[in-house]
């Protein structure tokens, strides 16, 4: 005991710091899309098992966030947006974050496998690996396409929610995956446009830093178009009803208008980037509303066909 105290021992981190490690705001979006995937599935699930599935998805997302912050503490310290996180601010030892992340990841996957089903547990495990290793360790620091490929990590939750209920993966959950996958680049690049200097200072090769703002604005529009089609596909293929179809069409129209405003903007001054800020804010509302209506549509029984 005496000897142990001579090594690096740290004041125990506050439990709120562990909570902050899980990126609660990101987790809320993950929980929401997972819940919508779960509710949109054509079968039913016992409320206790459904709650367990959502809890495991939330814990898995929290584990991914903790491992991401553990690995990116050096980058976070260089950016205003992230410099107050527990690790760069010195409120927690790095090893605590690593142990917390690994423990949470293992726990979430194991409980999902035991209480829900193996398929959802396998997808959850893969999504944690994808975010913590493929995106955080490999892509983020090496390519401006980091968001495009890494966006897949954030697209898994509705797939997991669906798999938790049905035990399989059909076309519909893959469409949900595609919507979030294609939504991620316009969403993050809009943000990256008006905080470009932050990413530049940290040496993160975000598209605006590497390819410039003009190219980024073009790319936002390029990704918006397939995203709009993906959002309409559940309705076109008859998996959802008119409620979803009308809502998606309206939301798509607004998203396209905002994306065109961004495309037409030539300003390099962050203060003059209202179109980018508006698109970023709307993109969050877009996803929330779209998935909420998707779940509502299924629950009130507007769907026309039997799911494949």
């Amino acid at each position: 005991m005496e000897q142990a105290l001579t090594h690096d021992h740290y004041i125990p981190a506050d439990w709120r710091d562990f909570w902050a490690l899980t990126k609660p705001r990101v987790m809320s979006l993950v929980v929401f899309t997972a819940l919508c995937g779960l509710l949109a599935a054509p079968e039913s699930i016992h409320p206790v098992i459904g709650f367990t599935a959502i809890l495991c998805i939330a814990l898995g997302a929290g584990a991914s966030g903790a491992l991401n912050q553990w690995y990116e503490a050096d980058i976070d310290a260089k950016m205003k947006r992230t410099e107050k996180r527990p690790l760069p601010d010195g409120r927690m030892a790095k090893q605590s974050a690593l142990h917390f992340g690994i423990g949470l990841a293992a726990f979430s996957v194991l409980v999902m496998a035991v209480a829900v089903n193996y398929l959802s547990a396998a997808i959850l495990a893969f999504s944690i690996f994808f975010y913590a290793v493929v995106y955080t360790v490999w892509l983020k620091r090496s390519t401006p396409q980091n968001i495009v490929i890494g966006g897949a990590a954030g697209a898994f939750p509705p797939l997991i929610g669906w798999a938790a209920v049905s035990g399989d993966v059909t076309i519909m959950p893959i469409l949900l995956f595609a919507i979030i996958f294609l939504w991620t680049p316009p969403h993050f690049w809009a943000l990256a446009l008006f905080i470009k200097s932050d990413y530049g200072n940290a040496g993160v090769p975000m598209l605006p830093v590497v390819a410039g703002r003009r190219s980024t604005r073009n790319q936002i529009l390029y990704y918006t178009v397939p995203m709009l089609f993906a959002a309409m596909m559940p309705f076109i293929l008859g998996y959802v009803g008119i409620l979803y179809g009308i809502t998606a069409a309206v939301l798509n129209g607004i998203f396209l208008i905002f994306a065109v405003h961004v495309w037409r903007n030539d300003s390099d001054d962050s203060a003059a980037m209202q179109p980018e800020k508006r698109l970023f804010a709307f993109s969050i509302a877009y996803l929330f509303i779209l998935f909420a209506v998707l779940a509502a549509d299924n629950m009130v029984g507007f769907a026309k066909v039997v799911y494949l």
Binding site: L5, Y10, P12, V48, A73, K78, L87, G90
Partner: protein
């Protein structure tokens, strides 16, 4: 990455405060610290213990409920 100068280093316990216990559970004090710092650490440990207790209690209830569902008592 561990030695990045931009990351503030968490304070080693011997520099700020060190409430510790020996193997037989007696309070053991190591390093320099004042009463406020000791109290701060005890408060933090207490808050963490309370939170851990709540989480464990919640998990007990959850696992009990899962078990009941799995054996088919709740449909």
């Amino acid at each position: 990455m561990n030695d990045d100068p931009n990351i503030k280093k968490a304070s080693p316990i011997e520099d700020r405060a060190a409430p510790a216990r020996t193997n037989d559970g007696e309070a053991k004090i190591v390093g320099r610290f004042d009463a406020n710092q000791s109290q701060h650490i005890r408060d933090r440990q207490k808050a963490r213990s309370n939170m851990m207790g709540i989480i464990l209690l919640g998990l007990c209830v959850l696992f009990f409920a899962i078990t009941i569902v799995k054996i088919g008592v709740w449909g």
